[in-house]
């Protein structure tokens, strides 16, 4: 359940952003979840909504907008753009588990479907990103 640790980092980042923006309450936190990390969304959402908001009064009543983003790799050798299914990563077992903890370890297992290179860039859908927060008395910032 390292989703709790990731959720914790999202809320800490949101509170820091609220400090920067002078917000005394956070109404909404918008988060993007990348496909590659294979986060258990229910567990992540549960951590955000139930376990952690008690950490700070500014999070009381906060709502979350979660959206998912598909992973896109770009091969640095031949330029091919491809997704997780084409990368040849095993979803179950040790490969999936390793990438779940550290998405960059996909470099050990994923290969370009065109040229077989392990040298690629993860262009989208890597992991968790805090997109923006909306706070009381403030315009959207993010």
């Amino acid at each position: 359940m390292h989703e709790l640790a990731l959720a914790d980092s999202v809320l800490k980042a949101a509170l820091s952003a609220a400090d920067d923006a002078g917000m005394d309450r956070i109404d909404r936190i918008v988060v993007k979840i990348g496909e590659l990390q294979q986060i258990e969304r229910e567990l992540f959402e549960f951590s955000l909504t139930t376990v952690l908001p008690a950490m700070d009064a500014r999070l009381a009543g906060v709502k979350f907008d979660l959206s998912e983003e598909l992973v896109r790799f770009e091969c640095r050798s031949c330029g091919t753009d491809y997704g997780r299914d084409e990368a040849g990563i095993e979803s179950d077992g040790d490969q999936g588990e390793a990438i779940h903890f550290i998405p960059e370890l996909s470099h050990a297992f994923a290969r370009c479907p065109s040229c077989g290179s392990p040298d690629f860039e993860i262009r989208a859908g890597r992991g968790i990103t805090l997109e923006r927060i909306v706070g009381s008395g403030e315009d959207e910032s993010g």
Partner: protein
């Protein structure tokens, strides 16, 4: 928060994850092959044997070897509110080798940075007297990231008497001074004959000289066997190397 710009939340969790760690000691040496991994792993072993709570984080993501030095074959972490380091020989250990086994991990600089951020954000080190970081060679991304992300970092530099190493360590010392990173001192590894170049460099640079580890032709056979490591000259030299 910059309007219109999303942020990576991971760095915001790092301080909390390390709050129970009293000291963070990076074992560094700008040149490859000076024995950083052997020194890091054996230092962690010696401290654990003294009853200290010790962590060992192998930051050489593309070529991890602390698990080889300590004879650890597998250490997939437990997952509980983050990941818990694998505990072996009393050492709380994290290495990407535990996730990837014998598979090569080709990482460019930005991917290495992201790997470091992820592991710092999710690893629960708990209460430690010392967290030993086995820093990768060079003065590239991971070294600079660690200096930036861990303001409590202290560096223990390892070198040997070779002129190419001395030159490289001198430059590294200059950089660490410029970056205001505290240096515990300079340790000579693989000492031969009457060489004094490392000691003289320490004196010239104004950093403590931490002693010399003699070249040990039997060390290779001790790798992976902690009982033999405990009998090695490296172990003896490292038992008291860390000043309080």
């Amino acid at each position: 928060m910059n309007p219109g710009k999303s942020i990576d939340p991971r760095s915001f969790a790092i301080d909390d994850r390390l709050t129970g760690v009293s000291r963070i000691v990076g074992v560094s040496g700008s040149k490859g092959g000076v024995g950083r991994s052997v020194v890091s792993s054996t230092l962690a072993l010696a401290l654990a044997d003294q009853g200290k709570r010790v962590g060992l984080f192998d930051l050489d993501f593309t070529s991890p070897s602390d698990h080889v030095v300590l004879g650890v074959r597998r250490g997939f972490p437990d997952e509980e509110f983050g990941i818990d380091p694998h505990v072996v020989h009393g050492i709380h250990m994290v290495s990407v080798a535990f996730f990837t086994g014998d598979t090569a991990v080709p990482l460019r600089g930005d991917a290495a940075t992201s790997t470091l951020l992820e592991l710092l954000a999710i690893t629960r080190w708990g209460d430690l007297d010392v967290l030993v970081l086995d820093m990768p060679p060079g003065l590239g991304d991971t070294n600079l990231d660690v200096i930036q992300l861990l303001p409590r970092l202290e560096l223990l530099l390892v070198g040997n008497g070779s002129r190419v190493v001395i030159d490289s360590v001198r430059r590294a010392l200059d950089l660490f001074t410029e970056l205001h990173v505290p240096t515990i001192g300079l340790l000579e590894n693989m000492h031969r004959g009457n060489e004094r170049a490392v000691e003289l460099l320490a004196v010239a640079a104004g950093v403590p000289f931490l002693g010399s580890i003699p070249y040990d032709q039997d060390l290779e056979d001790a790798l992976g066997d902690v009982d033999r490591l405990r009998s090695s000259a490296v172990y003896s030299a490292l038992e008291n190397v860390l000043p309080a």
